[in-house]
Symmetry: C2
Subunit: 341 residues, 2 copies
């Protein structure tokens, strides 16, 4: 099958959004919008004054970020979630995404599953597919996501202030635990359907394969915070980026980390806290705010149905990880591509 | 080596453009511009009123678009050229690009060569690197390019009018001939340096490995044309996209195709014409204009040092390929990923 046919058959579902697009462009032309999607050499955006276009790109590779025997709809979800998470990390509202996919050969079943998963995720995250390309090669999925912010209303890494509260959204560590936990055993249980997962195991599996970044909350958060990122490499690694760029230190209170009942049930509290500190693939937010905004953060989170936890504070220097005020030793290196011992 | 170190060491050269960026933002804030590059979760653009952001993404895969034993600086050039060519295809001015690269392992030599080639190409095309990501996996190079156009001043595929002239830039078929011509033999001659290439062979090799899309010309062309694309899959295949979208046919005059002396010297006139019709990887433009603009097209091309050839005309229906008015049989299927006989 030719590239053009592939694209037309499996990836030409952006028209589901055409009514939304039409609404946007006719009723409110001063909103950022997509004016042309799939079908020409490029996608086209209009970004009115007072707004900025934000863009991020991320690749998922077979055997590194997922295994190709994973259901293709789950691979698609994960790929899109990881990318819109980068938009949330900036406090941006998603506008659109493009997909570049390399496939070893054309399996219609796989493509059907993948495109269905992608369509579902694009509807869930309210972000249309507007272009891309397909090539032959080892399975490699690259997504570029486009979003918009009001000018200067961003979550950046270099804006943490001494004494700021440090917050995280959602629950941490579930995805890493799912990966770690008898690794392929859990996966094959989930895939085969032969052996039933416990509810708790299923919750971890879902966190790993179907993360849902707090997009709407992130877009509103820029009223209260100008410093944040998403937790993809583990809380301590990602908080580390904030500390490095903001030239400061932090105290992290391990007892305040959001660990889910499911995680504690499966791995116990001590391991749960270790996963929450250093596990990757969470796609939640870590952000800092002035302590005077404490109640406003809680109210905003409640309004959007998002769990938030105040897990520490920004300090002039040094990083201290404490459990009930006593030093806590982290036992796990955070995830790094090309990591070498 | 960790991902962050890789990026910092090899891909953090966008600051070469910082003086240009500063100039742009202080002197002329109503120009499209990059306001944030590498170092946070996303890159950020400002696209003032009356402009649109244009974006395109393209992947090069080892063994499909190049062989990994090709010099890494040439791979980098080709990857960036293919992407800015998509901007030229829309008549857009390049603004920036992001790079997502998967690497099987960290070869410092390879990365050094690749990043040097990328830096040179980014300076040649005047387009800064503003973000991206590195992952471990089979070699896969994805670039997303960003450009801007004045609102509505675009080259599209669906704007051809009956009786329009059909034009192409540059010379066609050289890259395809280089690939085809005793394939690896020419490549290994070029690589080993042991056996000297003839000047003509070198010209074909350069066309294949270091294409230079007519970027500046493309940006100005939108005054005269609103229909065009770049020739990456071969003239007839790409012209076919225009005909399909514009719902019309065409006559192509084979004797008017721009075949270089080098190409004719190496493969003879007949094969040269076949390559010019159907060879891929040209990264030149095909566009249509009203015949009343004929002289203006020639003048614009001369001003920008670009070769242009009028190779046919848009017709109500059917595609006719003629050599001196007689039917000409094309002997080569154009390039298609996943092409199956």
């Amino acid at each position: 099958m030719a590239e053009f046919d592939l694209i037309e058959r499996y990836f030409n579902f952006h028209y589901d959004f055409s009514s939304d697009l039409a609404k946007t462009s006719s009723k409110n032309s001063n909103k950022p919008q997509v004016v042309k999607g799939i079908g020409d050499d490029c996608a086209i955006f209009e970004i009115p004054e007072k707004h900025q276009l934000v863009t991020s790109t991320d690749t998922l590779v077979d055997g590194v970020h997922f295994f190709s025997d994973l259901q293709p709809d789950l691979i698609a979800h994960k790929a899109l979630a990881a990318n819109v998470s980068d938009l949330a990390a900036m406090g941006a509202k998603p506008l659109a995404f493009t997909l570049s996919i390399s496939l070893p050969d054309v399996s219609e079943d796989w493509l059907k599953g993948f495109s269905e998963g992608l369509k579902r995720a694009s509807e869930l995250f309210k972000v249309p597919l507007v272009g891309g390309d397909t090539t032959q090669g080892p399975l490699n999925i690259n997504i570029t996501a486009y979003g918009s912010v009001k000018k200067g209303r961003l979550l950046l890494r270099d804006k943490a202030q001494i004494n700021d509260d440090i917050w995280v959204t959602g629950f941490l560590g579930e995805a890493a635990a799912a990966l770690d936990l008898e690794d392929k055993a859990l996966e094959s249980k989930a895939l085969s359907g032969q052996k039933k997962l416990t509810d708790a195991e299923q919750a971890l599996w879902n966190a790993l394969t179907q993360p849902i970044p707090p997009l709407t909350f992130a877009g509103k958060l820029t009223k209260l915070s100008s410093c944040g990122l998403d937790i993809s490499d583990g809380l301590m690694a990602d908080l580390g980026h904030i500390l490095k760029k903001s030239e400061c230190g932090a105290t992290v209170m391990v007892e305040s980390l959001p660990v889910s009942d499911a995680l504690v049930e499966v791995v116990g509290m001590e391991q749960a806290q270790q996963f929450a500190l250093n596990g990757g693939d969470d796609y939640q937010l870590c952000f800092t705010t002035s302590s005077k905004h404490r109640n406003k953060v809680l109210n905003l989170a409640e309004k959007h149905g998002v769990n938030v936890s105040r897990v520490g504070s920004i300090q002039p220097e040094d990083v201290s990880i404490q459990l009930h005020g006593k030093p806590f030793t982290s036992n796990r290196a955070s995830w790094q591509h090309f990591y070498k011992d």
